[in-house]
């Protein structure tokens, strides 16, 4: 953990060397979030669904989804950009070092310019939570943190699975991004809006709905079962699977260099 923090602090220093461009890129990142939020709002407004779906509820689902995703993009970039590491032969250097390989890959890169999205979605999450649940309790707060972490773990797991393919193709497969970006895109909207089949995919295959959709019922007092707290833990199953898959690739791997 100390190692990881050290890695990250080094990356932050690098980013801050180019200040103007850093802030402009950060602004652009927030702008992307802003336009997507605008699109969500516009659609619900246009189709007159704002009575059925409370706006704070929509923004809460949206911001949990984005916060988890942005955290994953920022801190999971080592796996997201694994093909770059692989192509340059940097992966072989990491393998020689006597440290955990997962930590090293994670620490290898950090998308610090995405921090704008983290700040913006955290802000949105706080505002929508205050409006939706004025009397928040410790257990609800804890559940929200669980939900964000669950989303974060799911996206990182998808990055790791994507990195697994790099072992075989080196180039990486662009369309793997569809699973991470697409998951985020679909979950900008409450899953209940979609056809049932979509709900099944995002409950059992990529369990994001268990992190940012169903547990909201507990938050707005629609249910008070203890099971809501277990739902975000499903992300750990996906993480486990992704680590096993990645290790399989690692065993098959025999350097790209000479």
């Amino acid at each position: 953990m100390k190692l990881l923090l050290h890695y990250f602090s080094m990356h932050i220093k690098v980013y801050l060397e180019y200040k103007l461009n850093f802030f402009l890129t950060m602004f652009a990142q927030v702008l992307i979030l802003g336009t997507e939020l605008f699109v969500v709002y516009t659609l619900f407004d246009k189709f007159q669904l704002l009575e059925e779906f409370n706006i704070n509820y929509l923004f809460m689902v949206f911001s949990i989804n984005w916060l988890g995703f942005s955290l994953a993009e920022t801190f999971g970039r080592g796996f997201d950009e694994f093909k770059k590491l692989m192509k340059k032969g940097g992966f072989d250097i990491l393998l020689i070092r006597p440290r955990n390989i997962f930590l090293q890959i994670l620490g290898n890169d950090l998308a610090f310019h995405k921090i704008g999205r983290i700040i913006a979605s955290t802000y949105l999450l706080i505002i929508s939570t205050i409006n939706l649940i004025p009397e928040i309790t410790i257990d609800k707060l804890l559940l929200i943190i669980f939900m964000v972490l669950g989303d974060f773990i799911i996206i990182v797991s998808l990055f790791i699975i994507g990195a697994f393919f790099v072992f075989f193709t080196v180039e990486g497969l662009e369309f793997i991004n569809v699973f991470t970006n697409g998951t985020k895109q679909v979950n900008d909207y409450p899953i209940g809006l979609y056809h049932k089949a979509v709900g099944v995919i995002f409950t059992f295959l990529i369990p994001v709905a268990l992190c940012n959709y169903y547990p909201v019922e507990y938050l707005i007092d629609k249910g008070n079962s203890f099971y809501y707290f277990l739902m975000p833990l499903s992300s750990l199953i996906l993480l486990g699977i992704s680590i096993v898959i990645f290790n399989l690739g690692l065993h098959k791997y025999s350097s790209t260099g000479s």
Partner: protein, 266 residues
């Protein structure tokens, strides 16, 4: 003139080599099309609106995915910015050709090469999908011809915007921040994020008075018959004016930039 044509052909040929990337790219487009189709059909299941019907909206979604590489504003050639940054632009200036036209051809050729490898499978796939998720046939022959014409003009327009943004790199050196801001806004106003008929209020007004909507909104709505011919003709006239204005602005910026460039080294 012949030089420009053969350069276009050469660039097009070079672009057509990237077949594996195209397969990966079009798979990506399939998935995105499906995601957008799912989102919009979900909304129409709840309520229906009079601004645009579901079938016209699906045409919009699938045409957007099929022709994404032709009209998406973020498609650029890294080598242009790269040559400005590292100074190899000096070599380009030695050529007995006009630099603006030269780069312009490079960008257009890239767009055509990308789209030629991608659009057909996506179109066929989208036609074969079950209703209501599918792409329909064009509204009629005239609207299809107008669609083709406006797609062509849209490519010219979007490239002239790219040229302006690229030329700015002469002044700022690192323009990734600025260009991603411009492209994000343009993406919304041209209808990539959400079809323009679904917008309302101030954003719709801004979209109406900026050139971005001609890039894809106009051709896609002509295709599905959402815009009638008469309006279409007026829009094309307006688009031509925009194209001329943007071409002139781009040329002026590049001229200004080049007058300040001093080339060093031996």
């Amino acid at each position: 003139m012949r030089g420009y044509i053969s350069y276009f052909k050469a660039e097009l040929k070079a672009g057509l080599q990237y077949k594996t990337a195209a397969i990966s790219g079009l798979t990506t487009q399939f998935f995105w099309g499906i995601i957008f189709a799912l989102v919009y059909t979900s909304f129409y299941r709840h309520t229906s609106i009079k601004d645009i019907n579901l079938s016209q909206l699906m045409d919009y979604v699938w045409l957007n995915q099929a022709f994404l590489t032709l009209i998406y504003i973020g498609i650029n050639d890294e080598s242009i910015i790269g040559s400005i940054k590292d100074g190899t632009v000096a070599y380009e200036l030695l050529r007995p050709y006009d630099l603006y036209t030269w780069w312009y051809i490079k960008l257009v050729a890239k767009r055509y090469a990308l789209v030629m490898l991608r659009c057909m499978p996506i179109l066929v796939f989208a036609y074969l999908l079950p209703e209501p998720y599918n792409l329909s046939l064009p509204f009629n022959v005239i609207s299809f011809l107008m669609f083709l014409l406006t797609m062509f003009l849209g490519t010219i327009l979007v490239t002239s915007i790219n040229m302006i943004v690229n030329s700015l790199a002469f002044f700022t050196n690192e323009n990734r921040g600025i260009s991603s801001i411009i492209y994000t806004i343009a993406d919304l106003l041209e209808g990539s994020q959400i079809p323009l008929p679904l917008l309302s209020g101030i954003v719709l007004i801004i979209a109406f008075f900026t050139p971005f909507r001609f890039i894809e909104d106009l051709p896609f709505r002509l295709y599905s018959g959402h815009i009638d011919y008469m309006t279409g003709f007026n829009e094309i006239g307006l688009e031509l004016i925009w194209i001329i204005v943007l071409l002139i602005i781009g040329r002026l910026i590049l001229k200004k930039a080049l007058s300040k460039v001093s080339i060093q080294g031996g």
